[in-house]
């Protein structure tokens, strides 16, 4: 078994390359959560969009921490829990979480 240090030296760039390749997908997913939060604020979030957004939050929660974005995973989990309810009880909170998530993963966006 190789050491963690050896992994770091040999594969950190490969992990970074995987992140860079999948970055557009992550951006697209975060934008979808933004749209869902905006729709919730406007009272136009339908069941289909809510379920799609919950699934998207689930995918983000399961992957962001793998790249070191632990706060991103935590925020995505919180968003998922809110979206799994039949209706979003606190649309403003959902919006805040979506903004926090974007900032946690892409500070300059």
């Amino acid at each position: 078994m190789r050491s963690e240090a050896e992994f770091d030296e040999q594969n950190e760039s490969m992990l970074a390359a995987i992140w860079q390749r999948h970055r557009p997908v992550v951006i697209e997913r975060i934008c979808l959560l933004d749209r869902a939060a905006a729709a919730a604020m406007e009272g136009t979030l339908n069941v289909e969009m809510r379920e799609e957004a919950a699934g998207t939050a689930h995918k983000l929660a399961g992957s962001l921490g793998m790249y070191g974005y632990d706060e991103g995973t935590r925020l995505a989990q919180e968003i998922e829990v809110m979206l799994l309810e039949d209706s979003v009880a606190e649309p403003m909170r959902l919006w805040e979480l979506a903004v926090e998530l974007r900032r946690a993963v892409f500070p300059v966006m």
Binding site: M1, E4, L15, I18, K59, S63, M66
Partner: protein
């Protein structure tokens, strides 16, 4: 050398898991992007995989359904299966309990410790 099959619809999960398991543990990695493809890859693998990492939420056939179909295939039924899930709610823990999985691993995983986690769950002493 261990041979591991990763079944997950998320491409980057498959890539990162394969990268760290190949590099840190030196295992041979097979991948599939769906339950049905995973069953096919497992059945065609010679030798059979030593273990399968199986995502829970996938479009089409989900992880538990994929596992049930593997259990009905004599050639695959004895392969230990570890569930890979981002779910942590108690309801899922109860759903998975008693289904015969070798264990549950949670996403996001730490690339540096995934191999050790797998080895521990499966009782593999040295990797």
């Amino acid at each position: 050398m261990k041979r591991i099959l990763i079944i997950d619809d998320e491409e980057d999960i498959r890539e990162v898991a394969a990268l760290c398991l190949e590099t840190i543990a030196g295992w041979e990695i097979l991948t599939a992007s769906s339950g049905s493809e995973g069953i096919l890859v497992a059945a065609q693998s010679s030798p059979a995989p030593d273990a399968i990492l199986l995502d829970v939420m996938m479009p089409g056939m989900d992880g538990p359904t994929t596992f049930q179909q593997m259990q009905e295939n004599a050639a695959l039924a004895s392969i230990p299966v570890l569930l890979l899930t981002a779910k942590v709610q108690g309801v899922d823990q109860r759903r998975f309990a008693g289904m015969g999985f070798a264990g549950v691993l949670f996403k996001p995983f730490d690339p540096l410790t995934l191999a050790v986690q797998i080895a521990e769950k499966l009782g593999w002493v040295a990797i």
